[in-house]
């Protein structure tokens, strides 16, 4: 027999650990259609039956207000899994059972897994499983996913339930609402039965949703106007009776039902006012004075390890491995085989160098995700959001956006990927758009070159002002975008502060790998194609012959063509335009291209000859405008691929880079034209 089981549970209930324990390495990670929320599927190991496990997004409720909740609900209703395995954190049972009360109503068999039993026992509390099961009307199994306990029992129970149900709807006879409400529900149910016949929806669920005034459910059920009006009368009657809206009344009823069960089934060991370990840690971490220095210290440490000594060592090592060992091997091999010059160039300079420029980030990305996973799994991330929220709210962002933005000063690519820790889609999109404005390390050589040539007296001050400019543009963009394209009701900042937990090494590794491998796989495909195209544009002319002189290449011609576009910004000659085009490969490439085009060869940012050459064609004002443009315009290819992956939409990806380039143009233009008006040169 083959079955499909869906995992449903609150965030932090141990659902991911449970999923990993059940499926092992058979997981497949994708995205839910049209959104950036991850979809995970896998096959259960260690069972005779063929069982597919679907990990639904972590949610607190099945309300129609958040994308995650709508996805989970639609999946259950449309795809009808054979069993819903509802994972409940037993140490936080009241709030976790709230989702259970909603899942129970969908008409699909439910098995409740009381997870984290070990933590409950350690506290000295007890749960009466039989009372709980009887009150909820569903089977209950005890588990401790982090220790691997109870998982095979859970799967066995789910298989039993699936076999007994044989794909038919299971109707719960638990009545959890007030008598008046139950009466209305059963009356509405009767009226709905004929209307719902082909829709294959549980009438009790439909009745409750319509009574609540759930717009999404109304849309789905698509019932006759007269029927909807009829039900509205019931809603109005009850709302008058309770002097409150039905959504509130239903939620109140659910929690009352739960409090009642919990008081019967859970025995809490008497606890005085003693502080738990979590409380003690919290005393320091969210302390009035210590909290922000602590946060900055943690961030500094993560930043230093990721982008400092350890991170740059991995970059140098990977770079040497790819561009020397691999490229050297390929060259020898191709030469031995008598390959044509263009083929050798394509493989070595195009593919290997192009892929190499991306792959060098892989170890760094893994290191960053390792630390982000520690911050997340330990519960610190939620505290950081709690501490920083006030500061970021003004930009339409929540406290959690701070981390990706800060990582952006190191490298935009992993920083954009760090935005994945934000649950809210709108916050995530805005964070992705703004993060590249934080000046990354690769842009520094460009500033170093120009400031050495034009602002030798106060080099560091000018560079600092560029960094500041990026932050200011991000702030203004945040305000602008929040009031235009990303408008809409702000995501409520109502967030759980989970108890501190020591992350397991296995969990961290899975977490890190899950996030990192996507970069290699998906970014790799975009980058492979793009690096070949860019190499081609750099080395070939329009007549498809290989050229030595960059000005003859496709990029050279295109650069000359688009150069007038930069004239209002002060650098309308083709050399700058071509340099900016090659900056798309990697921002530091702007320096090398400038060197080649100014006839001083491929030099570093400290080249005196190049500085002298630039002094001939730039003025300090033009140089500043050029630096501002380099700071703000579309990020490099690797970051572009990361944006595409995280946005999961071409429309948003193109909007992001389009917006950034437009912002760069406007800001540079304002600097140059404004500077001229002020009589600067």
């Amino acid at each position: 027999m083959s079955f499909r089981f869906a995992l449903v549970g609150n965030p932090n209930c141990g659902k991911t650990t449970m999923f990993n324990e059940m499926t092992g390495s058979t997981q497949y990670v994708g995205n839910w259609a049209g959104v950036t929320i991850e979809k995970k599927e896998g096959k259960a190991r260690k069972t005779k039956e063929d069982i597919r496990i679907i990990d639904l997004p972590g949610i607190y409720s099945l309300s129609p207000y958040s994308m995650e909740e709508i996805i989970a609900r639609d999946y259950i209703i449309n795809e009808k899994p054979d069993v819903i395995i509802n994972i409940v954190d037993v140490t936080n049972i009241e709030r976790n059972l709230y989702l259970t009360t909603q899942v129970m109503e969908l008409g699909i068999p439910v098995v409740v897994a009381l997870n984290m039993m070990d933590a409950l026992e350690a506290k000295g509390d007890k749960v009466d499983i039989s009372v709980l099961g009887k009150s909820l009307g569903v089977p209950v199994v005890c588990t401790s996913a982090n220790k691997g306990h109870g998982i095979s029992e859970l799967l066995e129970k789910a298989i039993q339930v699936a076999q007994a149900a044989k794909g038919k709807a299971v109707l719960s006879d638990i009545k959890m609402y007030d008598e008046e409400i139950e009466k209305c529900i059963s009356e509405i149910e009767k009226k709905l039965v004929s209307a719902l016949k082909e829709k294959n929806v549980n009438p009790r669920w439909a009745a409750i949703k319509l009574l609540e005034g759930d717009e999404k459910a109304k849309e789905r059920l698509n019932a006759k106007e007269s029927l909807i009006e009829d039900i509205q009368l019931y809603q109005e009657k009850l709302e008058k009776h309770y002097d409150n809206d039905m959504e509130t009344v239903i939620a109140d009823n659910r929690y009352r039902f739960i409090s009642d069960i919990v008081s019967k089934a859970v025995q809490k060991k008497f606890k005085g006012s003693e502080l738990t370990l979590s409380d003690k840690i919290d005393k320091v971490v969210t302390h009035k004075i210590l909290a922000i220095p602590m946060f900055l210290l943690v961030m500094f440490a993560v930043f230093q390890i990721t982008f400092g000594a350890v991170g740059s060592f991995t970059i140098d090592w990977t770079d040497a491995f790819i561009n020397e060992t691999v490229a050297g091997f390929a060259t020898t091999w191709l030469e031995a085989g008598g390959a044509a010059e263009w083929l050798k160039a394509l493989v070595v300079e195009g593919i290997i160098a192009g892929l190499g420029s991306i792959l060098v980030f892989v170890p760094q990305i893994m290191i960053m995700f390792f630390f982000l996973s520690i911050l997340e799994d330990s519960g610190y991330m939620a505290r950081a959001a709690f501490v920083m929220d006030r500061l970021l709210r003004k930009l339409g962002l929540s406290g959690k956006s701070f981390i990706p933005m800060l990582m952006g000063f190191g490298c935009s690519t992993p920083a954009i990927m760090a935005a994945r820790t934000l649950e809210n889609e709108k916050d995530r999109r805005l964070t992705i758009i703004l993060t590249p404005f934080m000046s990354c390390g690769a842009r520094l050589p460009v500033y170093a070159l120009f400031t050495a040539a034009f602002f030798a007296q106060n080099q560091s001050l000018v560079i600092f002002s560029i960094y500041l400019l990026g932050i200011i543009v991000a702030i203004l963009s945040g305000i602008l975008l929040k009031n235009t394209v990303l408008k809409g009701e702000a995501a409520p900042f109502v967030m759980e502060l989970p108890p501190y937990r020591i992350p397991t090494f296995k969990g961290l590794m899975i977490h890190m790998w899950d996030r990192g491998k996507g970069f290699i796989k998906k970014a790799g495909t975009v980058i492979f194609a793009a690096s070949v195209i860019i190499w081609f544009c750099q080395s070939f002319s329009f007549s498809l012959t290989m050229v030595e002189d960059a000005s003859q290449s496709i990029f050279g011609v295109v650069g000359t063509f688009i150069a007038p576009f930069f004239a209002p910004l002060g650098f309308g000659e083709w050399k700058s335009a071509v340099a900016l085009l090659t900056g798309f490969v990697a921002k530091e490439a702007v320096v090398a291209t400038m060197g080649i085009l100014h006839g001083v060869g491929e030099v570093g940012e400290d080249s005196v000859e190049l500085a002298a050459a630039l002094q001939a064609s730039f003025t300090p004002l033009k140089a500043y405008a050029f630096m501002a443009f380099t700071l703000l315009y579309m990020p490099c290819l690797a970051a572009f691929a990361a944006i595409k992956r995280e946005m999961n939409s071409w429309k948003w990806t193109l909007f992001t880079v389009g917006y950034q380039t437009a912002a760069a143009w406007i800001v540079s233009m304002l600097i140059f034209q404004g500077g001229r008006l002020l009589g600067l040169n």
Binding site: Y65, N92, H287, P492, M495, P498
Partner: protein, 73 residues
């Protein structure tokens, strides 16, 4: 009627009503902030907002703007 905003860290009260509407109100209720529940303010964030509360045996945080909509006894 008092709102939760007037409660000082360490003080407890019983929720009598939640005003407001839409996603924020629903989210608060989904998280267990419902009529009759006991709520305790634990602390205020270092920058003065949001606040941290204890409800139904766990820690929850939301902004003062939300606290103003929660009426207490």
């Amino acid at each position: 009627m008092r709102t939760l905003k007037e409660l000082k860290p360490g003080e407890k009260a019983v929720i009598t009503k939640i005003s407001g509407e839409g996603a924020v109100k629903r989210r608060l209720m989904d998280m267990g902030v419902t009529r009759g529940a006991e709520i305790m303010v634990r602390k205020v964030a270092p920058l003065g907002d949001p606040i941290e509360v204890n409800i139904r045996g766990y820690e929850l945080t939301f902004r003062k703007a939300e606290a103003e909509n929660i009426f207490i006894d």
